[in-house]
Symmetry: C2
Subunit: 111 residues, 2 copies
DNA sequence: CATTGATACAACCTACTGGTTGTATGACGG
DNA sequence: CCGTCATACAACCAGTAGGTTGTATCAATG
């Protein structure tokens, strides 16, 4: 669903509070880069770079709106990341079950 | 649930394929650092550093077992990350509802 | 078509990351 | 207690990330 390289990109994009905030604001999809930039204590270009990171990770896209470009989150990528974490958690549950098997002894044990 | 700084640590820990793999292996919780290290094409010390990153992020802990230390994943942190992504997705759903409100027109509109 | 507003991009700097090797600590076996 | 296995840590290096400023493109407007 997410290749290892894509997962790298998605998680490292999420590993920055400013980018997570941009992602949240981009849910509404009504702000351009300039509007976003006003909200953070850094230069316009810095915010632009953050948006570019999110875009490369597939977490947002830009839509032309006149002379602006609106930043909108791509919720599908977010869901893919969720699913990856779900898989890990499923593995964990599997581990518990396997441990239970062991604790219940070899009655139904290996052939 | 996760402070911004903690979220930074968790996601940046997850943003590396080797570390995600270690995390999965650590679900079984029966391997020490040395056993893990054998599986990756890098030095023991490099794997040790990856484990340290996961540990600082709270995603794994080490349990002493004789002269070894077993690396075990802390599933609670994983769940906290999941919940964070759930929150984002909930925001998205909220956006959809708000958009529907708008599309349905101002019958119940602003006072 | 010149100006202005919004975005993009390049060059640069500093700090951190991911890897290396080498050395030190800690726990068990003889 | 001496050796050895397992882990930890420090020093170092190359590459990348996150910030800066400055310049260039692109679209609307007079």
């Amino acid at each position: 669903m997410l290749s290892p390289a894509e997962a790298d990109q998605v998680f490292s994009a999420l590993a920055d509070a400013t980018r997570r905030d941009i992602l949240r604001r981009a849910m509404a999809g009504s702000e351009g880069v300039a509007e976003l930039a006003e909200r953070y204590p850094m230069s316009f270009a810095a915010v632009q770079k953050h948006v570019a990171v999110l875009e490369r990770a597939g977490l947002v896209a830009k839509e032309r709106a006149g002379r602006r470009k609106l930043v909108v989150t791509q919720v599908e990528r977010l869901k893919q990341a969720q699913r990856l974490l779900d898989e890990y958690e499923a593995l964990w549950r599997g581990r518990i079950e396997r441990m239970s098997d062991i604790l219940e002894g070899p009655q139904g044990g290996a052939a």
